[in-house]
């Protein structure tokens, strides 16, 4: 798999009809985000806490002069919280939300790979019933018989608090 990816990367061009994803793990699960939304990958560093916000919003850090919030994806997805180690990784994502470029860091266990996924191999997320929230999941792809959940970065970046303004805006 790794060899595959690297050889493809050397060929530089992304094959038609395929999308490149960065995959990372949370516990045993594998997730992917479109590579175009990834700004950088950093190691975990202490954050400044923000008062009175949900637990998964860890706080904010200074990213070259910009204040960027850090979200713990495990907690966001109601997975068991794990201790932050030197290997804990922050993926800095950016997306355009309501015309503005927003940047946010998400804490994941580890980053595994960059992979090309054929568009036709992406299935829409199955309905897990009410047990599992699939609101952030764009689709599911199978890579080497592993299931990778592809995340919708834009939705991910919309924090709960942001939705308030959202509704206001909708009112108009």
């Amino acid at each position: 798999m790794e060899q595959n990816t690297s050889s493809e990367e050397i060929e530089a061009k992304v094959p038609e009809n395929s999308v490149q994803f960065l995959s990372f793990t949370l516990g045993d699960e594998e997730y992917g985000v479109t590579i175009l939304s990834v700004q950088e990958i950093r190691s975990w560093e202490p954050v400044s806490k923000i008062p009175n916000v949900p637990n998964y919003e860890k706080g904010v850090v200074n990213l070259r002069g910009a204040i960027v919030p850090i979200i713990d994806l495990r907690e966001r997805f109601n997975l068991e919280h794990s201790e932050y180690t030197n290997l804990t990784v922050v993926v800095v994502l950016q997306a355009v939300c309501r015309g503005k470029n927003r940047t946010m860091g998400v804490v994941v266990d580890s980053v595994s790979n960059v992979m090309n996924i054929q568009k036709e191999n992406i299935q829409s997320a199955p309905d897990f019933g009410t047990k599992v929230s699939t609101e952030f999941i764009n689709g599911i792809a199978s890579v080497d018989n592993r299931m990778v959940m592809l995340l919708d970065v834009e939705k991910l970046l919309k924090l709960d608090g942001l939705e308030e303004d959202e509704t206001e805006e909708d009112d108009e």
Partner: protein, 692 residues
Amino acid sequence: MSIDMAQFHQVFFEESFEGLAVMESGLLNLDMGDVDSEEINTIFRAAHSIKGGSGTFGFNAVADFTHLMETLLDEMRDGRRQVTQPAVDVLLGSVDCLTEMLTAIQAEDELDEGSVNNHKKALEVELNGESATEAPVEVAAVISEPIVTESNDDSERGWKIAFCPHTDLLKTGNDPVRMFRELAELGDLDVFVDMQGVPSLVDLNPEDCHLSWTLLLKGDIERSDIDDIFDWVEDECDLSILPLTEEVELETIIEIAEAEVEAEAAAKTTPVESVKVVASETVKTDSTETKPASTKAKKPKAAASSSIRVDTSKIDTLINMVGELVITQSMLSLVGEHFSIDKVDQLKTGLIQLERHTRELQESVMNIRMMPISFVFSRFPRLAHDLSSKLDKKIELKLVGEHTEVDKTVVELISDPLVHLVRNSLDHGIEMPADRVAAGKPETGTVTLEAYHRGGNIVIEVKDDGKGLDKESLRKKAVEKGLIEESTILTDKQTYELIFMAGFSTAEQLTDVSGRGVGMDVVRRNIQALGGTIEIISELGVGSTMAIHLPLTLAILDGQSIAVGDATYIVPLGSIVESVKITDDMVNRVAGKGETFRLRNEYLPIVRMHEIFHVESAKATNLMEGLLVVVEGQGVRCGLFVDDLLGQQQVVIKSLEANYRRVEGVSSATILGDGSVALILDIPGLVRLSNQ
């Protein structure tokens, strides 16, 4: 004169627009019954310099147009014409037209000939209404009018005569001086002598004539009359007689002025008596007739297309500061050069000075971008004037706090939203005079525009004493338009905010003033783009207030850092009243929960930071252990209970909302010296938070 005029265009436009603003406010201030002649003079001068400038730069359409206005104003100035409301209105319209023309020229667009001609006609009609006094004005104007009137009336303008006699002119018994006297009898004569041909004293033959003359003869003179005078000398000189135009005149004067300098020395040695006259004549001509030239000379001080006018005093302060900074720097480098341990004190003093100067420098640099809000406000008297006559309402516009300084960007972006708000107040807010009287209010409605600083904000209020917003009809309208559901429950505030929705208009009838329902949502969007908010306070039948809160765009804040557990927060220094350590007997509990403490004669609520921000690591949980920072914000005072005070510093304000969102109790964030992020507290927000 091969100067590239284009480089002065920007300045010309700037000055012209300023001139137009002066004219406009002047016209609005004119009191029909008792006209202040100084006021008219001011307007006239503004018109005159626009005319002069536009002529110089070849914008003849503008010059022509302004000329008409000037003529009208001139008659008013001389008291030959009554200042009437229609005349003032025509002039106001012309000011607008002129603004459009200049804008078009500046943007290198086509002129709107139609509208220009309409205004021109209106002016002409106004002018010809009383034509008795017309003629002299024409003439006066013509004289100060460059280029434009070249073609038709040469004969009455005058002549330029270049008279260059041969050396033996005097020997034939002809005396130029006598000829000049004769010419002077025909009209207004200016004589300029060229002494370049005069040899040094040693070589001078007193019987030879080495001088040549340029004569400007003004007045309605036949060519033949001049020819008669020169008849006798025609064969003994080179003579050219040209019709006089402003251009020729200007050129002549400039040529002569140049020659004059060289000739100055020689002048003293020449025996011709007219020289003295010439010298003083030239000086006079220079100062009066070359006015366009002198305005040009003082212009090249600004050129960039986006420029800012800064009070010179601000620049002086800046220069002073840089001076001090340089002194401190040299002092410090002296200390550093031969540093020994006993110089630590000097070093410290130097560093303190450096800090102070850096701070002052920073403040004054920031200050340069600040301009008084009057730049925006000044356009509203005109708006109110126009609208009140259009709507048949009696309206008084009050401007308060015009000197409040705001950032240049704010000035540029706030003006359109404000126009909308003021229009709305005038159109929808203020009732018709009859209705007002019926409601027991004074006939004249008042609209107040007010600007002031509050906390870290600039507040701009548009207040009217009109009919106020009707919550019921707002609601009905919104339901009707399908903007909200019948069953939706709205608070008062939410109801008022309905008017910010696109497609919402409360006016029963659309007027061309307002009421198309596109305004208010744009207003809100613009204000939000500036990072501000707009708030409506209204009472039915009493009036409404629209308050715009804008953050000071100054990106730097004086802060006091405080410690709560392992977190560091910044409190804006301006909101801190004092910090106290309290004793048990100062604390009172209200209803077992709310804590207050007595500070001198005042009971203040205690806001425990570690509780409302849920900081678990707080060291001080007992009120006696920590400190109370007494803060004040938007009229609310309270004591913030914190672990410790850390230090004062200037912090750069970074928006939390850019990537994150608004957090209650926090206004923004900053980056500390060690690279970590600290939150800047929002005092009123904290108080709200603790009340929940």
